[in-house]
């Protein structure tokens, strides 16, 4: 089945049965070193997250905020593929470069007025293909309206917290 067939079939199925559109994604994390974290996700993959030596780690993997940027950049790239296919726009190449600024005084509690996360994000997308500039602008608007991880960065998400502890 072509990607266009997959998209058309899925779009039709979800419009007929909105309950089929409800997906839950899952990830488990264990702190296995000073800052080393082993992650196992629902699709069966596992990988390591760590911090550099400056934060007490061994740089055994990308750190959490790099994975957050990677989630955004890869989601942008894949959403370009899906929506170019939906809109019939030829797309030969997609590259996404992202910078994210953090003021580390927030994380270390040096200044409680400084937020701990990203203060600003810059997303740079390079496309290649034979369509008009207007069509790529149309594609970019569609991607930014439908990219799941961009929505996460740009808006608030309701979060429930649950804490349990056992005496060692």
């Amino acid at each position: 089945m072509s990607l266009l067939d997959i998209i058309s079939t899925t779009t039709h199925a979800l419009s007929q049965n909105p309950n089929a559109a409800k997906a839950t994604f899952h990830a488990d994390h264990a702190l296995v070193g000073v800052t080393e974290v082993l992650v196992k996700v629902g699709s069966g993959h596992q990988f390591t997250v760590d911090e550099p030596a400056a934060l007490g780690g061994q740089n055994l993997g990308a750190n959490p905020v790099e994975y957050a940027l990677a989630a955004l950049g890869s989601c942008q790239a894949i959403t370009y593929r899906i929506w170019a296919t939906k809109l019939g726009i030829q797309l030969d190449k997609v590259e996404v470069s992202i910078d994210g600024d953090i003021d580390l005084r927030g994380f270390f509690g040096v200044d409680e007025k400084v937020r701990p996360g990203f203060g600003a994000i810059r997303v740079s997308v390079k496309l290649s293909g034979n369509e008009s500039q207007a069509r790529y602008a149309e594609l970019s608007d569609a991607v930014n309206a439908h990219c799941p991880v961009l929505d996460l960065f740009a808006n608030q998400v309701p979060i429930e917290h649950h804490l349990t502890f056992n005496a060692a």
Copy 2:
């Protein structure tokens, strides 16, 4: 140098020189298959992001929204380590389990009123150690106030977009 020494030294340095606290993290992404994305991050690591067959991919890696959950879960785990050390709270074990709900009608453009990203997130943290419940509650409050990726999920981040294209 112990982790506590690293934290104390860093906290002191950042309070003396706020400019030293300004960090920029970076990630580059290339769409190298139908939905396969190769990611290279600033700390020198690279990894693959992909979608399952239902979305035209080959499941060669976790997908973008799983990486987003992993960013949050690993950031929670590491922030528990750092803040337990700062606060002098014994911590033997940290496990973080996260579920995130997405209504896929948003991503596929079936219903423009449905947001494309997470509609809800559930974070479950399990701690082990010999301190009182009150101290672990104090730790949890400190972690949730200083965790960079939790801040990203819970709040809006300003995003600049830049698009360039080349004729193929």
